[in-house]
Each structure stands twice: as structure tokens, then as C-alpha cells.
């Protein structure tokens, strides 16, 4: 029982969910208060995680729940992103009239599910975490229930996600059938020989996971859900589920299936190339910024997968670095999106940015930095993210993947440049509001500064990540 202290953060969040639910029901008009309390409890959870001993490496509950350096780092990343998402979107949910007590509580539920996913070392625990986060996300996607697009996106996400969960579960059952266990470590021991059923199981699981991080060809839901959901939910979609899904990807590929590298490597390479190229090409024609960033994130996930496909520790570390920098860039991008507000209405089309630089020089500068960074132009953080990936990929002599990936960055550069062109070269439009709440401003300034100043000390994050132990 003394091991229970290792899951104090999870327990704390569960208790906060129940407490806030009851509190919100009994206290009238408390939506804003609950929202703030949620943010505070996330900060507290972050403190609890950091407070756990860093080097600890242990598993609980009959080796089905893992507390290791990977879980620790990913959870810190997760909760930090959660806090910044909450900070930046508080004003948005008030103005969009979706400020209800359920909203922050659902976010907490989803985060709890992701934490379970990140730590899971067992098929059943993993599936439980996955469903907890997904069910909360279905509701969040359609939270603006009077809006047709929002309900559509919720329903679409639900149907497709349920399908993929079904595939995933089927894969899990196949794996169980052929390895006689659900524990990750045990699966590795029991699956020395390759059997067809096992390969099918791996494929089904990878399909399910690819759906969660919206890798091509399982990306269909992403653009619609990104566009239809309230922006505050879109930013959540763009950041947090990616962290959890990528961690699970790492765990599956590098613990139970590590020995079966030949079986999954081609699949991951295909997913990676397809995502990089398709994401870059499809984004060119987009008019809506949220839809565009959906395609852009598909493309970015392709790069993260490219790191995983190497099958080396270095590759995994480069993927984790990539996702870290990706989170910051997307956070900055969405913070800019939250600032495009005029008369209590948010604007999200690319044309609305026309001539932004004349009226809002600082906001435009941040967008400029973010977009060039997303395009991977040095010396911004986005370049280093790609750089680490390609270092890992080329080390494995996978030149084809590297060259395709780099050519995709050139294609992708085109649509990022198009936005910059609209901001800087086009005639100006009406001004947006220039007053924003402190949390949003802080998020934008902090993330932009990170992107801009990353090159001064690039070793910082890499050093932390290089201490993560995979096996």
C-alpha cells in the first residue's frame, strides 16, 4: 500500500473531479469559480508530480501501472499544457457562452484519462485510460450544442473514434490470445516467435493509435473536429491527446513489440511519410485557420512518427523533443487565434488576418515567429525539432524518409508563407480588440519567447529528455 503515494497526482485529480462536481451543483453560478479551481488543482497536481522523486522507477498494481522517467516527463508536459490551455481560453469560453461547470470538469476527466494512458503497462489499464479521455473529449467537441458545426464535430468524432477503439480492442484481444497475458513486459517475453495473429494484433493496435494522433490515412476526423469544436476545445485537441497517444505509441513499440521491429517498422514509416506529405499538400487550399492547423498538425505528427520509426532510443528522444516543441508552437499559434476578437466575436479565417501587421505589430510579430517556426526555418525552435528527428533518421540510414520529410517541409513552407503574406503584405482591415486577459498574454509571450530564444541554449531540453529511460 505504501506505493500508493506514487499515484497521488492521479488520486488528487480524481478527488478534485468529484469535489468540483458536487461543489458546482450546490453553488449557484459557480462556473467561473469552478474553472479557476480547476486551473489551481492542475497547478497543484503539477507540483505533486514534480515532488515525486525523479529517479524513481517502479510499477504498481501487479505491474500494470508504471511510474518511470518517461511517464513523469510526459505527465509534466501534459499538465503544463493543460494549465496553459486553461489560462489562454478562459475569456473565450465566457464570450462563446460555453462557460458551464461541466466544461472544466470534463477537461479534468480527460486529463486523468491521459495520465492513466501515459502510465499504463497493461492492455486493460491502457484501454481504460483511453476511453476515459475519449468519452470526455466527445462531449467537449460538441460542447457548443447550439452550434451545428460543433455538434457535427462531436458526433463525427464519436462515431469514428468508437470505431477505432473497437479495432484497438480487437487488436488487444488478439494480442492477449496469442501471448496469454495483458501485461506489456510479459507480452514481450511471450512473443518471441512471430505468428500471424500477433501481427494482426499489432496492426489493429497501431491503427487505433494512429487514429488518436490523426496520422494519415486515419486523419479524416481531424479537420472537421478542429474546425467545428469551440476554439478552446480545438487547442485542447491539438495539444494534450497527442502527448498521451505518442507516449502510448512509444510504450507499445518499445516494450511489448520491441522484438518485432520488422513487423511494425514499415507501417510506421508509411504512416509517417503519408502524414508528412498529405498534411503539407492538403493544407495549401484551406481558408479556415483551425482547419489549416489541423492539417499542419497531421503533418507534424508525421515527423514525430518518423523519429519513432527508427527503433532507436535516440529516435524516441527526438520524437519527445519534437512533440515538446510542437506543443509550444501550437500553444502560441492558438493564443494568437484567441486574440482575433472584435465585438465579442472571434475570427478564424485566414482572410481576417489581412494586413494585421499594420494595426497589431506585436501580435503579427508573434505570428510571424510561430509560423516560421512551424515551417522549420532556423534559428527558431521548430527547426531544431526537425533537426533532431533527421539526425536520428539519418543515423539509421533511412535517407528516403529523411529526404521526403525535408521536401514536405518545403511544401509546408508554402502555406505558412501564405499566411505571413496575408498578415504582412496585404491591405489592412478593421482593427481587432487589443485588450486581453493576463493569462492569454502570458501564454503568448512565454511561448513566443521560448520559440525565439530556444537556439541560445538548445541543450537544456535535450539533456532532460536524454535521461528518459525507455525500457
Amino acid at each position: 500500500m505504501e506505493n500508493l503515494q506514487l499515484i497521488i497526482p492521479e488520486l488528487f485529480i480524481s478527488i478534485m473531479i468529484m469535489f468540483l462536481l458536487i461543489f458546482g451543483v450546490f453553488k449557484k453560478n459557480s462556473s467561473q469559480l469552478v474553472y479557476n479551481l480547476t486551473t489551481v488543482s492542475l497547478v497543484a497536481a503539477l507540483a505533486l508530480i514534480i515532488n515525486l522523486e525523479a529517479q524513481i522507477q517502479s510499477s504498481l498494481f501487479n505491474n500494470s501501472y508504471n511510474i518511470d522517467s518517461l511517464a513523469r516527463f510526459m505527465k509534466i508536459l501534459l499538465i503544463l499544457s493543460g494549465i496553459f490551455v486553461m489560462l489562454s481560453s478562459s475569456k473565450y469560453i465566457q464570450i462563446s457562452k460555453i462557460s458551464k461547470i461541466e466544461y472544466p470538469i470534463l477537461i479534468l476527466c480527460s486529463i486523468l484519462g491521459m495520465m492513466v494512458m501515459i502510465s499504463s503497462n497493461d492492455l486493460i489499464v491502457f484501454y481504460m485510460g483511453l476511453e476515459l479521455q475519449s468519452l470526455a473529449l466527445y462531449v467537449l467537441a460538441s460542447f457548443n450544442r447550439d452550434n451545428l458545426l460543433s455538434t457535427e464535430s462531436g458526433l463525427k468524432y464519436f462515431v469514428l473514434s468508437a470505431l477505432s477503439s473497437g479495432l484497438l480492442l480487437y487488436g488487444c484481444s488478439l494480442i492477449y490470445g496469442f501471448s496469454e497475458t495483458t501485461n506489456f513486459n510479459q507480452i514481450m517475453v511471450n512473443t518471441k516467435e512471430i505468428e500471424y495473429g500477433l501481427t494482426f494484433g499489432i496492426v489493429f493496435i497501431l491503427v487505433g493509435l494512429a487514429f488518436k494522433i490523426s496520422a494519415v490515412p486515419f486523419h479524416m476526423w481531424a479537420p472537421d473536429v478542429y474546425q467545428g469544436s469551440p476554439t478552446s476545445v480545438t487547442v485542447f485537441f491539438a495539444l494534450l491527446p497527442k502527448i498521451a497517444a505518442l507516449t502510448v505509441f512509444i510504450r507499445f513499440l518499445y516494450i511489448p513489440f520491441y522484438e518485432l521491429g520488422d513487423q511494425w517498422q514499415m507501417i510506421i514509416i508509411f504512416l509517417s511519410i503519408a502524414s508528412m506529405v498529405f498534411g503539407a499538400v492538403a493544407a495549401i487550399g484551406q481558408k479556415n485557420l483551425k482547419r489549416l492547423i489541423a492539417y499542419s498538425s497531421i503533418s507534424h505528427m508525421g515527423y514525430a512518427l518518423a523519429g519513432l520509426s527508427t527503433g532507436t532510443t535516440q529516435g524516441v528522444q527526438s520524437s519527445i523533443t519534437y512533440i515538446t516543441i510542437y506543443l509550444v508552437m501550437n500553444l502560441a499559434f492558438f493564443s494568437c487565434l484567441f486574440m482575433l476578437k472584435r465585438n465579442d466575436e472571434y475570427y478564424e479565417n485566414i482572410d481576417d488576418l489581412s494586413g494585421l501587421s499594420k494595426n497589431h505589430p506585436l501580435l503579427s510579430l508573434s505570428l510571424l515567429v510561430v509560423l516560421f517556426s512551424l515551417a522549420g526555418i532556423p534559428p527558431l525552435a521548430g527547426f531544431f525539432a526537425k533537426f533532431y528527428i533527421f539526425v536520428a533518421v539519418i543515423n539509421e540510414k533511412m535517407y528516403f524518409l529523411a529526404i521526403v520529410g525535408l521536401l514536405a517541409t518545403v511544401i509546408a513552407a508554402f502555406y505558412y508563407l501564405r499566411i505571413i503574406k496575408i498578415i504582412y503584405f496585404d491591405p489592412e482591415k478593421e482593427k481587432f480588440e487589443s485588450k486581453h486577459n493576463l493569462g492569454l498574454k502570458f501564454t503568448l509571450v512565454a511561448s513566443t519567447f521560448f520559440i525565439l530564444a530556444y537556439f541560445i541554449y538548445p541543450s537544456g531540453i535535450v539533456d532532460i529528455i536524454s535521461q528518459i529511460n525507455i525500457n
Binding site: 533527421f390 539519418i394 513552407a413
Partner: protein, 498 residues
């Protein structure tokens, strides 16, 4: 030497840019930001001049080397100069203040942003010329795209968007393969440190592919035929200061890269690809000269002449002889001065008449005599008249080429004649002839700041034309060492069957 003089050179413009950025903007202070920029760039120029004076020209090693850990265990931030790179740094710091002076007339809106872009660009340009690590080089090389893209796109002419995109995407596409090559070099040799790589050498079996990857980047940037088409567009649409920086310095990055990396790291592959480079260079020299003859737009004409001149540069580098390489470097410096001056000259008349079409002008000699004089000097410099710096470069290149291949040298010499043809014809159509156009009569002669900037460029062009010794002195040892170290002579002899 503990004072990090090179890092100061790199950082100073950025600090200036930050200063301008944080000063509150109002119309009156636009002027002050210009003085800040001028002060910073001049300070940088004198700092680099000091660097040139204390630089020991008789030593082959890199000097003022600074090294710091950067990406831990992988890449070190390493800068240093030898006799070749110091000249390019000097050229950069000399041209940038001139660009800052010209903003007076050419930039009407967002002066502050423009100055910031120029200063940031200067940081990157100096960084390219003194980085001694491949990754650091790549970083600076690519980063320069951002400010240049904005300079063309925000302050450019009518088709600025098209040109800016073309410039950016062409260069980026060329460069990505270089990144693959750099990372591959790291995995082959275990370092990206240029000095160490010079010592280690790269296995000949990898060289050809790596050379091609670097070539794809430098060929676009040079630009060599057939990937030169972005240059005329970018030049035509960019504001005067942008054109000047593009022609004078950005193009030289590629020539510098050819010498430092293609020759230095892949000598065997360089030799292998000599016929390719000769062919492309000759096509560039002859074809683009002919194209230049047909141009009706002044800036386009000069842009095509730049391609032709850079053809001489690549030809000279790949003769792999002392004269050829020295000639190429000299040609690059000279072209940096001359083309900058020519674009400034175009800028002068464009500001007055707002057209770049050659046939709208004519007979300027009687209205703008001072302009006619300086323009004459630059025209002669561009066509390589003895007594101007252009002559020395072309002469040395051709000398190197004659040593290697008489046919190639003969064809290249034809380019000199064509160069004289289009430059003199341009001069004739603009400066002489009848004064028919009414608007032209109202044009005023050079203003004071224009006289200053243009004469600042006349002086070195003529000075180095008569006395090239300081420049040659500076590069001689480094070039000899480069040839010596890579046994280029020996390789040459083997190839020739001696």
C-alpha cells in the same frame, strides 16, 4: 585575444535591432532609429576593419577562433576567420551602412521595421562567413531567408508576393538536401567541425553524393543556370537596399560555400564534377549575357549580368588553380561593389521617374552630369575595364582557365565581350541619346547623400583596380593552403595524365 571579436560582429547588429524595436515608435523617432542603425552598422564596419588590420595574413590557420558548447555533445558554436572569409565580412559590413543611408529616399513606410530587418540580415550574413561548423553555417545560411523574404515582400514592387515566394521556396528547396548531407557527414565522421573535417577528410566513396547535395544548395543561391530564374524576379521587385544586399552579399554566400565546403571537404568529388560546373558556368556566361542584351528593364539587365558574373566565379573556383580561385574571390568582392553600385544607380533614377524601363530615359548626361560620371565608372567596372576591380577578377579567372582548358577559357572570354556589349549599350541608351522625354528634363542631379554613397563605392573599385595587392595578399596564403592541403594540384596532374 580574449575579446570575442567575431561574436561581437555577429551580435552587434542584432542588439541594434532590439534597441530599435524597443524604442517607442512615433513619426519623429523614425529618424532617430535610422541614426541608431547607421551608428551600429558603422561601428561594425570599423570593428571589422580593425579585425582586418590585426589579422595576420601570413598564417594559414583560422584566427580569432571561438568555440563554445552549443548542442551538447553534438555541435559546437565555432567561429573563426581566414584570409578568405575576412574579406567577405569586410564587404558585408561595408555594404550594409550604405544600404542604411539609402533608405532615406526609397523606403516610404515602416522605416523602423525595415531597419530591423536589415540589421538582423547583417547578423546572419556575417555569421555565414565566419562559422566554422557545418550546422552553424546552415543555421545562418537559412535564417537569412526570413528577413530577405520580408524585405522583398513588404517593401517590394508590384509583383513582390510572387517574387518573395519564388525566392524563398527556391532557396529552401535547394538547401534541404544540404541539411541531409550535413547530418550524414556527422554520422560518417563524427563531427561537423570544419577544421577537424579538413584534417580528417571524407572517404571518397561518399563524396560524390555529398558534393551534389551541397551543390544543389549553392547552385540555387549562386545562382547557376538553370536555377537562376528567381534572381531577376527578386531583384526587380526588391527595394533598392534589398537588391543591393542580395547582389552584393547574399549571392556571395554560395561562392564562399563552394570554396570553403565543396572544394575543402570534397576535393575528389569536386574534380569529378568539374565538367558539369564548367558547362553550367559557360552556359551562364554566354546565355545570360545574351538574355541581358535583350532586357528592357534596367534592374533585370543587371540581374542577368550578375548571373553571368557569378558564372565566372564558379568557373574560376573549379579550375582549382591558385589564379582561378583567387580570381573568383576577387571577382566576388568586385562584383559585390559594382553590382551594389549599379543597383544604387538604378535606385537613383527610379526614385525620380518611378520607372525602370530603359527606353523611358535617354540624354541624362546633360541633366545629371554627376550621375553620368559615377555611372560610367560602374559600367566600366562591370565590363571589366583594366583599371577597375572587375578587370583583375576576370583576368585571373581566365588565366586559371587557360591553364586548364583552352576551349573553356576561349568561350568564357567571349562572355567578356558580350558583357561589354550589354553594359555599354545600357549606358548609351540611358545617359546619351536625345532628350525626348519631358519628365526626364525635370530630373535633378545627385543629392548629397547619393553622392556620398556612390563615391564611397567608386573609390574601392578604382583603388583595387590599380592596386589589388591588399586583397590578393589577404587570400593568397589561405588559397595556397587550400590547394596544398587537398592536394588539388596532385589530383589535377593525375587527371591530366602527367
Amino acid at each position: 585575444m580574449n575579446f570575442p571579436i567575431l561574436s561581437s560582429l555577429i551580435l552587434l547588429p542584432t542588439i541594434g535591432a532590439l534597441f530599435i524595436f524597443f524604442v517607442r515608435s512615433s513619426n519623429s523617432q523614425y529618424q532617430s532609429s535610422k541614426y541608431v542603425a547607421l551608428f551600429i552598422t558603422l561601428a561594425n564596419f570599423f570593428l571589422s576593419l580593425y579585425l582586418w588590420i590585426v589579422f595576420d595574413k601570413s598564417i594559414v590557420d583560422f584566427q580569432f577562433v571561438e568555440e563554445r558548447e552549443w548542442i551538447s555533445g553534438f555541435v559546437n558554436y565555432k567561429v573563426g576567420v581566414d584570409g578568405i572569409s575576412i574579406l567577405f565580412i569586410l564587404l558585408t559590413t561595408f555594404i550594409t551602412p550604405i544600404c542604411v543611408i539609402t533608405v532615406n529616399a526609397t523606403i516610404k513606410n515602416r522605416l523602423k521595421d525595415f531597419l530591423i530587418a536589415i540589421l538582423i540580415l547583417e547578423t546572419f550574413m556575417i555569421g555565414v562567413f565566419c562559422s566554422l561548423d557545418l550546422v552553424v553555417f546552415y543555421l545562418f545560411f537559412e535564417a537569412g531567408l526570413i528577413p530577405m523574404f520580408l524585405i522583398i515582400g513588404i517593401w517590394g514592387g508590384e509583383r513582390r508576393v510572387y517574387s518573395a515566394f519564388k525566392f524563398f521556396l527556391y532557396t529552401l528547396l535547394g538547401s534541404v538536401l544540404m541539411l541531409v548531407a550535413i547530418i550524414s557527414i556527422y554520422w560518417i565522421t563524427g563531427t561537423t567541425d570544419v577544421i577537424k573535417l579538413y584534417e580528417l577528410g571524407i572517404d571518397a566513396k561518399y563524396q560524390n553524393l555529398l558534393w551534389l547535395a551541397f551543390f544543389s544548395s549553392f547552385a540555387v543561391k549562386t545562382p547557376m543556370w538553370p536555377v537562376h530564374t528567381w534572381l531577376p524576379d527578386a531583384h526587380v521587385e526588391a527595394p533598392t537596399a534589398g537588391s543591393v544586399l542580395l547582389a552584393a552579399i547574399l549571392l556571395k554566400m554560395a561562392g564562399y560555400g563552394f570554396i570553403r565546403f565543396s572544394l575543402g571537404l570534397f576535393p575528389d568529388a569536386s574534380l569529378y564534377f568539374v565538367p558539369l560546373v564548367y558547362t553550367l558556368s559557360l552556359i551562364a556566361i554566354i546565355y545570360t549575357s545574351l538574355v541581358a542584351l535583350m532586357q528592357e528593364d534596367m534592374k533585370k539587365l543587371i540581374a542577368y549580368s550578375s548571373v553571368a558574373h557569378m558564372g565566372f566565379v564558379t568557373l574560376g573556383i573549379f579550375t582549382m588553380t591558385q589564379q582561378g580561385i583567387e580570381g573568383s574571390i576577387f571577382q566576388m568582392i568586385s562584383h559585390g561593389l559594382v553590382s551594389a553600385a549599379l543597383f544604387l544607380c538604378v535606385g537613383v533614377v527610379y526614385d525620380r521617374l518611378h520607372t525602370r524601363l530603359i527606353n523611358r530615359y535617354g540624354g541624362l548626361v546633360s541633366i545629371m552630369p554627376k550621375y553620368a560620371i559615377v555611372f560610367m565608372v560602374f559600367t566600366l567596372g562591370a565590363l571589366g575595364l583594366p583599371g577597375t576591380s572587375g578587370f583583375i577578377g576576370e583576368f585571373l579567372v581566365l588565366m586559371g582557365a587557360f591553364k586548364k582548358n583552352i576551349l573553356v577559357a576561349t568561350i568564357a572570354s567571349l562572355g567578356v565581350i558580350l558583357g561589354a556589349a550589354y553594359m555599354l549599350w545600357l549606358y548609351k541608351r540611358i545617359i546619351f541619346g536625345k532628350l525626348i522625354n519631358e519628365d526626364v528634363k525635370k530630373m535633378v542631379d545627385l543629392k548629397r547623400f547619393e553622392i556620398v554613397t556612390l563615391w564611397l563605392l567608386v573609390l574601392p573599385i578604382i583603388f583595387f583596380g590599380f592596386y589589388p595587392e591588399p586583397l590578393i595578399n589577404s587570400i593568397e596564403v589561405s588559397v595556397a593552403n587550400m590547394i596544398d592541403m587537398n592536394d588539388l594540384d596532385k589530383i589535377n596532374k593525375l587527371a591530366l595524365g602527367d
